[in-house]
């Protein structure tokens, strides 16, 4: 029995009729809304497919989309303004953003039936888009001379051909570049690395740097597809052969073992720092954050890297025989197949690549100009020392470049992330090189199937 409780019940129970009931209703109602909350992905798409515009003087608004920083935006906008001043009927709807998330956005725009007429793309995605017939075949424009590639290095424009179609035109040329911290080396009286050092020599050099400076000599590039690619080509292999992988599990095991030995010798940073440097973001490259003596990048990224550090930087080719490197299209301009303004879009690409004034404005921001005649003019006019270094190393390598490989195939973006995953498994010591290699090959097979 509860002698004291009964008297207190009347008031609270009476009151609690309404409050808990409504509270409970409220709670239930809120729950229902939350449970039903949308988990939705997918978007409606509707393709538009029209031919080119008929009247050459009809007003045209061309949408154009690229990735890059403020500097690139400024240069590109200037060049496009120049086009408009020469063709007053053509105006541009410009959109640009940082590299991260760019391809998500491009895919979404395409799905939404609202893709840009003209867009920037690189070899990581070119085949993905071409295989799904999103990109316009530029071959007929090239043949008719409306798209002039006569001054391009042959291998450079060919690096935009997928399945026999010219689906992207090189907006510039670059190649792999190993960037090192000059200031660090000078301070400790260490020799600078040189193009043509073997991988073994490079690692020995890096070990020496680690010992003398306390800064790990080199970033471990085992998660980096472009370093693996160069190394494979030096072994007579390639990243892809036709629709297949151009290498085997044994090759990858050797590659992972090479870098395991480098880590064991303390030539590289620890796994967590390597992981930081594996981000593609320029500002996180270990050579500019001071966490390693070198970073494995593209040669035309020199000026951007230099902006993020006070130290002097140098750039050379990746280790081993430099003929494994090639004149790579740093990025392309592609035209959306369903664009209503195909002809104008192609003309703009032609203008951005072959007009002296436009090329001068754009400079070397997207890599060395594709048009070799104009490249000479631009190179001579370059004042940025970092860019001059980049130009010098590319000019030197141009004599040594090997044949271009085929453009990476559909599924390549997945192959890249799987390489990072497998390499990091080995770096953190969670898998042996052989296990990591087997894991990588397995994942690649389903990625490119």
């Amino acid at each position: 029995m509860h002698p004291a409780t009964p008297p207190t019940t009347n008031a609270p129970v009476g009151r609690s009729h309404r409050t808990p009931l409504s509270r409970r209703r409220l709670l239930r109602g809120l729950l229902a809304v939350t449970v039903a909350a949308p988990l939705m992905f997918g978007a409606a798409a509707c393709g538009e497919d029209d031919g080119g515009a008929a009247d050459p003087n009809a007003p045209v608004k061309l949408s154009i989309f690229w990735w890059g920083g403020d500097a690139r935006a400024k240069l590109t906008e200037d060049a496009l303004a120049l086009y408009t001043s020469k063709h007053p009927n053509v105006t541009f709807e410009k959109t640009w953003q940082a590299n991260q998330g760019y391809f998500d956005k491009l895919a979404t725009l395409t799905a939404g039936g609202n893709p840009p007429d003209l867009f920037q793309i690189d070899d990581n995605y070119l085949a993905e888009y071409a295989a799904r017939s999103t990109t316009l075949d530029l071959t007929s424009y090239q043949k008719s001379g409306k798209l002039d590639t006569s001054k391009f290095p042959e291998s450079l424009w060919q690096y935009g051909v997928v399945d026999g179609k010219l689906v992207g035109l090189a907006a510039g040329e670059n190649t792999q570049g190993l960037v090192y911290n000059k200031t660090l080396l000078t301070k400790h009286n260490l020799p600078e690395p040189t193009t043509g050092m073997t991988w073994e020599q490079h690692i020995a050099w890096a070990e020496e740097v680690s010992k003398k400076t306390g800064v790990p000599g080199t970033q471990d590039p085992s998660a980096d597809y472009k370093a693996l690619w160069v190394w494979l080509r030096q072994q007579g292999k390639d990243l892809y052969k036709g629709k297949e992988l151009g290498f085997t599990a044994e090759d990858v095991t050797k590659w992972f073992e090479l870098w395991k030995s480098a880590r064991d010798r303390k030539a590289t940073p620890t796994a967590d720092v390597i992981h930081e440097g594996n981000a593609t973001d320029i500002t996180k490259q270990l050579v500019v954050t001071g966490k390693a003596g070198t970073s494995w990048v593209w040669a035309n990224q020199m000026p951007d890297l230099k902006k993020n550090t006070k130290d002097e930087l140098g750039v050379i080719a990746y280790p081993g025989d430099p003929s494994a490197q090639w004149a790579r299209a740093s990025m392309y301009w592609s035209v959306f197949k369903g664009s209503k303004n195909k002809d104008v879009a192609v003309d703009v690409i032609n203008f951005l690549n072959n007009d002296l004034e436009a090329v001068k404005l754009l400079g070397t921001d997207r890599g060395l100009p594709s048009n070799q005649d104009l490249r000479r003019v631009v190179n001579d006019g370059t004042t940025d020392p970092a860019m001059q270094q980049s130009i010098a190393v590319e000019a030197e390598l141009t004599q040594k470049f090997g044949k271009s490989p085929q453009v990476p195939i559909k599924g390549h973006s997945k192959v890249r992330t799987e390489l990072t995953k497998a390499a990091e498994n080995a770096q953190y010591g969670r898998a042996t090189p052989a296990q990591a290699a087997a894991q990588f090959i397995e994942a690649c097979k389903s990625a490119i199937a």
Binding site: A4, R23, A44, A111, T417, K421, Y428
Partner: protein, 327 residues
């Protein structure tokens, strides 16, 4: 005899209330009221249909196709159950993501609720400046899924972040938390737990609703602090606990932003932060397998629905509504 089981003479039978309401007014008035209701509802309804319901149904359809975003809708191929088959039989990284998500939710959600309830109990007293503390504890959850917060977190829990500097004062050498595959997910859990403000506020509201008479009665009966908490606070609060549990579990499963930012959208290091939704996003937008990603989304929706149903069915045994309607 328990108080809640006592019949209450002052209270009309709930059935008769409803019957009475139905008899109220003529049919025509009700009809025009109904119409006006829909008119007022329409902005929301159109939004629901256009932005949620239709795309959702569309994604159900897409989950049976090989839709890859870039291919026009009209050329999409029907692949039957292939996507679902692949998910359950041939995709180890899918199951890895399931494991990561379950680990995250099973640890972070109970701890977050415990933290929220604990702090709510502390803040339920009439202290000086208690309002300020309520505000301060609530603040982190206002920042919600913010990208900026995740960036701050990454920088705090780096090898040379603020947290390790703090540890070094005590002579402890920290780890590179966010860049260590053994700790990255735990770092995300701490972030989730730290944002306990929203459930805390709901708990506080719940605590305010508990009639003080019950405590008085209990203490007259000789119940100590702990027994009062166990036998009065917890049962009275159980509907709110239930509400928070369901809500936070769903939230926990959907964790995306922090994992995306911490890993640059890749789920690293070594897939340690590959949450379900992040894996889904990568599949859809990076690998361009949107049909497969849609299938993942639907399995996810079903899994959460089942889980919620389980919560509701077990709720009978431990959730007490003081109006006694659920007996």
């Amino acid at each position: 005899m328990a108080l809640t089981t006592a019949p209450d003479p002052t209270r009309p039978d709930p059935g008769s209330v409803r019957a009475h309401a139905d008899r109220r007014g003529s049919g025509r008035v009700r009809h025009s009221e109904g119409l006006a209701g829909y008119v007022f509802l329409s902005p929301w309804l159109i939004g629901l249909m256009g932005v949620t319901a239709i795309p959702m149904l569309l994604s159900l359809y897409l989950s049976f196709t090989n839709y890859d975003i870039l291919t026009p809708f009209s050329e999409v191929e029907w692949v039957g159950l292939a996507n679902y088959e692949r998910m359950f039989t041939a995709d180890p990284s899918y199951w890895h993501a399931v494991r990561v998500t379950l680990t995250f939710a099973l640890i972070a959600v109970p701890l977050k609720l415990a933290a929220a309830l604990g702090v709510a109990l502390l803040l339920n007293r009439a202290w000086r400046g208690v309002g300020l503390f309520r505000g301060l504890f609530y603040l982190p959850s206002l920042l919600g899924g913010s990208v900026a917060l995740a960036i701050v977190w990454v920088n705090m829990f780096n090898r040379d972040g603020a947290f390790n500097s703090l540890l070094s004062i005590f002579g402890i050498t920290g780890k590179p938390w966010v860049n260590d595959p053994d700790w990255a997910l735990e770092t995300l859990m701490v972030l989730a737990i730290w944002q306990f403000g929203a459930p805390m506020v709901i708990f506080l509201a719940g605590l305010k609703q508990v009639p003080t008479e019950l405590y008085e009665a209990a203490s007259v009966d000789g119940a100590g602090r702990f027994r009062q908490f166990r036998n009065v606070t917890l049962p009275m609060l159980s509907p709110v606990i239930f509400f928070n549990l369901v809500l936070e579990t769903i939230n926990g499963f959907q964790g995306f932003t922090a994992a995306f930012v911490l890993s640059n959208g890749l789920g690293g290091p070594v897939d340690s932060t590959l949450m379900y939704t992040l894996n889904l996003y990568i599949t859809g937008f990076t690998d361009l397998e949107m049909g497969y990603a849609s299938a993942m989304a639907w399995v996810f929706l079903l899994a959460i629905a089942v889980l919620t149903a389980i919560f509701f069915s077990t709720g009978r045994f431990w959730v007490h509504y003081s109006d006694g309607e659920d007996r």
